[in-house]
Amino acid sequence: MNRQLKNKLFTYATWIAVILSTTILFFLFGVILWNGLPAIDFNFLSQASSNFGASGGIIYQIAGSVLMVLFSALICLPVAIGTAIFKSEYVISKKLHAIINTLIYSLNGIPSVIFGIFGLILFVNILGMGISWIVGSIILAMMILPTVTLSTYHSINSIPTVYRESSLSLGLTKWQVIRKVLLPQGFSGAVTGLLIGVARAIGETAPIMFIATAFSGVAFPNSFSEPVSTLPTHILALAQQATNPDALQNAWGSSLVLVTLVVLFSISALCFRLKHQTISKR
């Protein structure tokens, strides 16, 4: 085969791959939109569910999901920033870097259902915290910790050394350099990581279904130690009654709302990253 032909074939192959993956994506979105839109109206978005979800709306599911990921972000952020600063500014030895990387990637690789079981055993059984949304937030925070840590680390670490040295030679202490120079720059990375992490966390079912959620009869929680209902667990419950067309319709509607939230978080992550291209890019 001559080289030009090979080159052409290769170009076609990459095009086919791109078309295939975008088709799958649009097909998925299309199906969800097509089936979900008829279920959605103002009542669906503003009312509590009734009849095990077959009628009524999903306001408490939306509230539960958003509440849980919001707190998971709040719990995750300080730990991620601390770890990122430690790794970037205090660890010199290459070996220790490798060990920390391995730990972060291992944490990222743990299947989500294991987090659920771990939460059930540690928080619910041993610590006796009961089935509550805050336990769910803690577990989700653990799950997104690697993403947020690495994103923060990369944005702090990519700040050129001369910025550190310039501030140090003006008499700033290392802590002042971290606070005044590195954190303001690294913060955009942390937020980007958080948004990506939250986009993932809000769709998780397995880690929270044993420890943080109830399937029906929940409203907005009044304390930390109550279960909530969330979108993914609601969809799961509805899918189990798929013979009921009303339930199925609401399952599609809830899916559309969930996917919209995920897309919103992802797009804000993208916008945030583009808007905060900082000194590290110079």
Partner: protein, 269 residues
């Protein structure tokens, strides 16, 4: 060699200048590499000391050890002594942050923070002490005037510092260093990324600044050293080849290597 050191010491005594910094038998290793080998130099007060030498000879390593910014380099070992105003700065209980307010540093590439011009001038000093609004304005004006930037930027102090030209940025970096009121200013090839005009502006500024400050200036440009140096240090391959009064050294270098380097920027060491 010994005779020569004696001579340079005598000349120093003759002019009644004191040495503000003395390096005694300074060795630096980075991992296995012997970067500086038994460096003995003195830096006279209120003079411009130029450090020259070929690329990779250890000029940056030398100047960076004076404010201990080298401390964070991976695998660095330092031996010997550095005296500043009569006391050692290499002890473990040296207050490094306060040392760096006395010995400031300007780097090769101008490095402004992503803040306004005004904030950049104040960046160091505002972390050292509380300043009133009026004090802040005074500091900004005074130091921008010293680096002859005031006329150009006084009407846009709140603009981002990145909007300045590279030459202006470097002068801003110098103003920021001056605002902290150090005694010594270390500059590591501060003009090597600048155009000839900005370079001259900085050279002229150095000559003015030496009345108040002691200047240590690394350059690979011999003509530049000739224009501004009072005291000259020539190092090659991590070793001190020759140091002394600049005009004396330029007119009749004692060492054949120095002669060759000053003549064709070539060193066979």
């Amino acid at each position: 060699m010994e005779q020569h050191i004696l001579k340079s010491k005598l000349s120093v005594v003759g002019k009644t200048t004191e040495d503000i910094i003395k390096l005694e038998g300074l060795h630096i290793w980075i991992k296995e590499n012997h970067i500086l080998d038994a460096i003995d130099v003195n830096i006279p007060k209120n003079k411009i000391t130029c450090i020259i030498g070929p690329s990779g000879s250890g000029k940056s390593t030398l100047i960076r050890s004076i404010n201990r910014i080298n401390d964070d380099v991976d695998g660095i070992t330092t031996q010997g002594n550095i005296n500043f105003n009569g006391s050692s700065i290499l002890t473990s209980d040296t207050d490094i942050a306060s040392l760096r307010t006395q010995i400031g540093m300007v780097f090769q590439k101008p490095c402004v923070f992503p803040k306004s011009i005004k904030e950049n001038v104040l960046f160091g000093i505002r972390h050292l002490k509380k300043l009133s609004k009026i004090e802040k304005l005074q500091i900004v004006e005074e130091n921008l005037k010293t680096v002859s930037l005031w006329k150009e930027v006084s009407h846009r102090l709140n603009d981002k510092a990145i909007s300045l030209s590279i030459g202006q940025q470097q002068r801003l970096c110098i103003a920021r260093t001056l605002a902290v009121k150090p005694e010594v200013i270390l500059l590591d090839e501060p003009t090597s990324s600048l155009d000839p005009l900005s370079t001259r502006a900085i050279e002229d500024m150095m000559v003015k600044l030496k009345e108040e400050y002691t200047i240590v200036f690394v350059t690979h440009n011999i003509q530049q050293a000739k224009r501004i140096a009072d005291h000259l240090i020539f190092i090659c391959d991590g070793k001190l080849i020759e140091q002394g009064n600049a005009s004396a050294l330029f007119s009749c270098p004692q060492n054949s290597q120095t002669k060759a380097y000053l003549k064709d920027q070539y060193c066979a060491c």
